[in-house]
Subunit: 336 residues, 2 copies
């Protein structure tokens, strides 16, 4: 949800008794610090900040960039954009600076994905630490690195795949299979992320052995989220078949609603560039599509149950989820 | 589980209070009738028989067959097999005859996958009817066709994908996302199939809104199953990353443990033939590999949690699953 987690959303979730999380990965260090302080101004409750682990960026083939830019030309024309600017290389090791901010601000909970960053400073600062795993092997590795809990990212989940050991195809494990197998292999608590939209999913996660749940897509629809209007509409209308895991948007596999842009880039001859280069190439298109409300040129990250989302104030959504979960559990007791 | 569901397995499951199911799809009509009668000789409880809906078989390109046979030559040599025999076309409309057997024998429960067969005769015969869906649209279509319950086949499930509306890639929906969305759209009960191996999975299915569960992989390990020894071992050792959905074995996508045969056929240039032709080409290899115990040339259909399987007598497995489910539900009540 990086980009849509406003301080208002984070604080509203925490004030309602859940743990609000700020998606900090795309924020430069100063903006990250500002956002953390904005959250602190709105809540006295614990909250989390999420970052990406450092990702190796290899050399970029200028011819491949040129070929991809040609594929993108029709979309730029449609949106009235001029020729793309020079591709700027991502700033080196921005993660180190972001991590320093997390530690300096003594953020209550620090979570990360895409690998394992250097944890000494945040641990020293007293942060509770959560890492994201898509396989048992990754969960074991995270435990070894000293996380306090493992977030099991299931196949169903929206957003970028967190897989960091081996090819991403091997980390496509449905939640029902993933949670028990991780729970059996680590001692730290397991939190399920993936298509949890109402009390049914949350109760199921608990039945599988998870001790917590993480909801992203459900909160895209919250009033306080910074989700653009066209994004909200398309994600809430998306059926269970509507998403796919694609590299087309950023170069890193992620689950998003299929759009004509994805369909085109996946079938065009041009090679999709590595993360984060592909994402940088698409940035002007995404921004213009957002401003103009051209929904099917947006990058619609969403899980496989986004059609179950509800537009509510975030605090009310948290309360609704808690009430529904209680009701499902009570109903199951009646069965047993 | 077609091929491994011995009458002893089916009867033991039904005698323990669950619903044993005979995988009848690969049985010629006479053998199907014999198997049904054998089950009846071992139990007075209800049981099910599962068939494939009729699948259109297009014309086969002899050159493509030739190319695939060349890819298979090293495996035939390894297994000491001679040159392959002439490819025999599948018997036309064997399903009609199988369906007639189901109706004549008044099988208590009839279940099917791969589409929707003609249901008039089995309905007339008083069979309870279950159809398999991988999407909401398929579930709605099944309800319209008059099924008594829908089996939701999740992404996690072992075996052939049942997708019959649209491309199979669109029917890859994790159980946590699939069940609630189907439950919200049909009035008939929903049964979850997919990586359910112990009480945790079963309790999760109930939390999601399923009124029943279907377990295949878990019963591959049952004492009474006809599962070859090498198959049992490899499936019970398979981790959550070990399976993939592949067309390599039969031409129809199915979830199976990755083997060197799959890896080779998926990356070899030769086109994989349509179902069931590809399966017919591989039949002698599979049979010889079974006899010789060459595990990684077997067709190891299995779900994403097969590593949780337990080798027990089937009746004991049913009782264990029931007891575990009760315990999980009781534990959840304590939470709520």
């Amino acid at each position: 949800m990086a980009g849509f987690t406003t301080p208002e959303l984070v604080a509203a979730v925490s004030n309602a008794g859940a743990l609000g999380a700020l998606g900090g990965a795309m924020l430069p260090p100063d903006a990250l610090r500002e956002a953390i302080r904005a959250v602190r101004g709105l809540t006295e409750q614990p909250f989390a900040v999420n970052l990406f682990a450092p990702v190796e960026v290899g050399p970029v083939d200028p011819d491949a960039v040129e070929r991809m830019q040609r594929e993108l030309t029709p979309y730029r024309e449609e949106l009235g954009l001029g020729a793309p600017g020079q591709l700027r290389p991502p700033p080196p090791r921005v993660v180190d600076e972001q991590l320093a901010v997390i530690a300096e601000e003594r953020v209550p909970v620090f979570s990360f994905t895409f690998g394992i960053p250097e944890l000494a400073a945040v641990r020293e600062a007293g942060c509770v630490i959560l890492g994201s795993a898509t396989t048992v092997a990754e969960a074991v590795e995270l435990e070894r690195a000293g996380v306090d809990a493992v977030v099991a990212q299931a196949f169903e989940a929206g957003g970028h795949r967190g897989t960091f050991l081996g090819p991403f195809e091997r980390g496509l494990v449905g939640g029902i299979a993933l949670v028990p197998q991780i729970v059996d292999r680590v001692r730290v608590p397991v939190v399920l992320a993936g298509a949890l939209m109402d009390g049914r999913g949350i109760a199921a996660a608990l039945a599988l052995g998870a001790e917590g749940v993480q909801l992203g897509t459900a909160f895209l629809a919250a009033e306080e989220a910074g989700t653009p209007e066209a994004y909200r509409r398309l994600v809430s209308e998306a059926g269970e078949e509507a998403t796919a895991i694609t590299r087309a948007y950023t170069g890193r596999p992620g689950r998003a609603v299929r759009t004509r842009l994805i369909e085109h880039l996946e079938t065009a001859g041009a090679e999709i560039l590595p993360f984060p280069v592909q994402g940088a190439l698409l940035l002007d298109i995404r921004q213009a599509a957002t401003e103009q409300g051209v929904g099917d040129l947006l990058f619609l990250l969403a899980g496989q149950a986004s059609g179950l989302s509800r537009r509510l104030p975030a605090g009310e959504l948290v309360e609704t989820l808690a009430r529904e979960t209680e009701a499902v559990l009570a109903g199951l007791t009646a069965v047993s």
